[in-house]
Symmetry: C2
Subunit: 420 residues, 2 copies
Amino acid sequence: MKLEMICTGEEILAGQVVDTNAAWLGERLMEQGIEMQRRVTVGDRLEDLVSVFQERSQSADVILVNGGLGPTEDDMSALAMAQAIGEGLVECAVWIERLEHWYASQGRTMPASNAKQALLPASAVMVDNPVGTACGFRVKLNKAWLFFTPGVPHEFKQMVDEQFIPFIVSEYNVTEKTQLHKLLTFGVGESSLADDLDKLVIPEGITLGYRSTMPHIEIKLFARGEQAASVLSETVEKVKTVLGDSLVSDRHSSLAAEVNQRLLEQGKSLSIAESCTMGGMANELLVQPNSAEYFHQAVIAINDASKKQLLNITTEIFEKYGATSIEMAVAMARSVRQPLDSDYALAISDIAEVEVDRRQRITVSIALVSQNNVWHQTIDIPFRRPEMFRSICAAVAYDMLRRALLGSPPIVTYPFIRRC
Amino acid sequence: MKLEMICTGEEILAGQVVDTNAAWLGERLMEQGIEMQRRVTVGDRLEDLVSVFQERSQSADVILVNGGLGPTEDDMSALAMAQAIGEGLVECAVWIERLEHWYASQGRTMPASNAKQALLPASAVMVDNPVGTACGFRVKLNKAWLFFTPGVPHEFKQMVDEQFIPFIVSEYNVTEKTQLHKLLTFGVGESSLADDLDKLVIPEGITLGYRSTMPHIEIKLFARGEQAASVLSETVEKVKTVLGDSLVSDRHSSLAAEVNQRLLEQGKSLSIAESCTMGGMANELLVQPNSAEYFHQAVIAINDASKKQLLNITTEIFEKYGATSIEMAVAMARSVRQPLDSDYALAISDIAEVEVDRRQRITVSIALVSQNNVWHQTIDIPFRRPEMFRSICAAVAYDMLRRALLGSPPIVTYPFIRRC
């Protein structure tokens, strides 16, 4: 079965709205082992719609069309489809009745413009929409079924789950088993990972994909078919062995989510002190579900006076070691850990700009302290964009904590980050 | 000129990544008065890529292709393009040299897989990428120029701005004068804004658009042609009058950016204490450029012990008023302001869950203090998603500060937020 999607709407084509329906559908279908072949996005011009319906119906088997079913003039999916087949629009009596009933139940009269939403191409089969005023419909042109869905996300999603997926599963006998496993890595570039993993023999039916979610690379193992699915977990293990220390999560797509879950599972508390990371390190963890269960406090001390006052950093540390030193990071971590006797505290110092081999680079010190231990490192990163720099710092810090929670040495070598 | 975009990548087609590059491009082109006709998204299958290149090059004049230039096997844009033209891949000597030089400057040897990134179709013109290892290229097939760009967002954006737009402007003589003005609003829904603005007479050639960037609505006035551009600023003034208190910035797309600039311009310092907003309020301001010039400190006190220890909140406040009270927010703001005598401090209390009219809602108290003044309010918001709740809280707090900096009363009524 060749499946495609057509997204309509000027606001999506012109970028004023990011097309989250399309992304959601892709994921939903993939979970069912159904692959999408192509997605076409067009604006609200009638002739563009007519031509894309005619054109795509010659190569696809099923086309899910999204949007253009509203009551206003720029909603013209039904009209375009009728023209593409060469037939008229006919009022769908069932839907008109539903609309009138719904408005009456709200004590309102149906606005005239809504009647348009019951006009469907003559040969269309109506598709119910229990949560909105736009019904869906499906219609056959050339070799394809075109299946029309509303643009409103929650209406769209319900129609896909309750009507579209059951329709294609029964119509096209989709039964192939598929499975997806994701692994999150940190500290190694995509090309080096690929060089290493290329040496593995990957069983037929399993494909390896890479996705860069800076500063991470996510590795995806996708198994298609019963046989491939049956050897997926042993393939995952082989890949994990090759990844070694660069593997930072085999269940989450972010290190913050991984650390959040470990802290919750182990019932350990955490405090954070930061400076150059601008509160991003605490915030990224705090937005994870249930973070308030383990998170004690965070102090973002931007200037020196604030480090002295809020974190009790001594003049000696400033004068002898400086704001960018290991000593500073350790003192910040100790100070933020102490008041509530948190199990762990993480701290990141200010940054030092340094010239290494005639290139501008920056170094930053990161400390992790627990009741009885202190770990620290100074890393050296090329400074490109501030967000990138901040997420690398947070990732190194989270990874130190993750390894400590696992009982492993918190400090490892990341090939793409230099340690001083 | 007929312009189309082809987005490549299994992760985009399958929905694991939302295609923000496509949305960004649409907006960027619109600002230049250039309209996109169609967008096609395909996965990483060689035959799909070859056929979409061949097919679209028969109707478009320019096709921007995004993605598939990376070092790994699933990156196959160059190979597919070469096959679509019927020519071979040739190593681009300039680019290989650049890659080797770059790796050498990092003290590393170039991984073997990167060499692939210098293989371009024989007739391609290389397009420089000063910030990444994937060069772009352009190539002519049938009537179209196909212009290949990397998928990494910051590399993509820089290439579009510095190379793609200048190329199409010169090649296709795009000269129509266009101008765009954006206004950021807060506190009024899109349909109410539209009802109010519908009463204005907007000059021909100017279109009014709405874009929801929750919790804000951005209003865009787009002028096409010399005449429309000449009356844009007076139209903007009329719109601003209608917007009244709901206008929160006429130069920035976020309230944090607006407040950041005002604090910098006025040389005022700020500290923040937060709880239920999880550090998001401080972080959103701190990631703005030069925020360290005015930002003193932020304390994120998640639990009560931390409020007592770090913010010196008295037992009396806890017992008499509680963690969600106005008194708590004011005490937090005073406490975080005091150590460095900051000009302003903002604080947000914990949330209280309440039942209003048999619906679950939440209330939260927000305080702004300066050396001599205290302002505070308790707002009542329906609780849907936590991120939405947090950004509404931060927006109300920022807007209080913005109004104070302007010398206006910091507390106003927002139609879609209830005040207790």
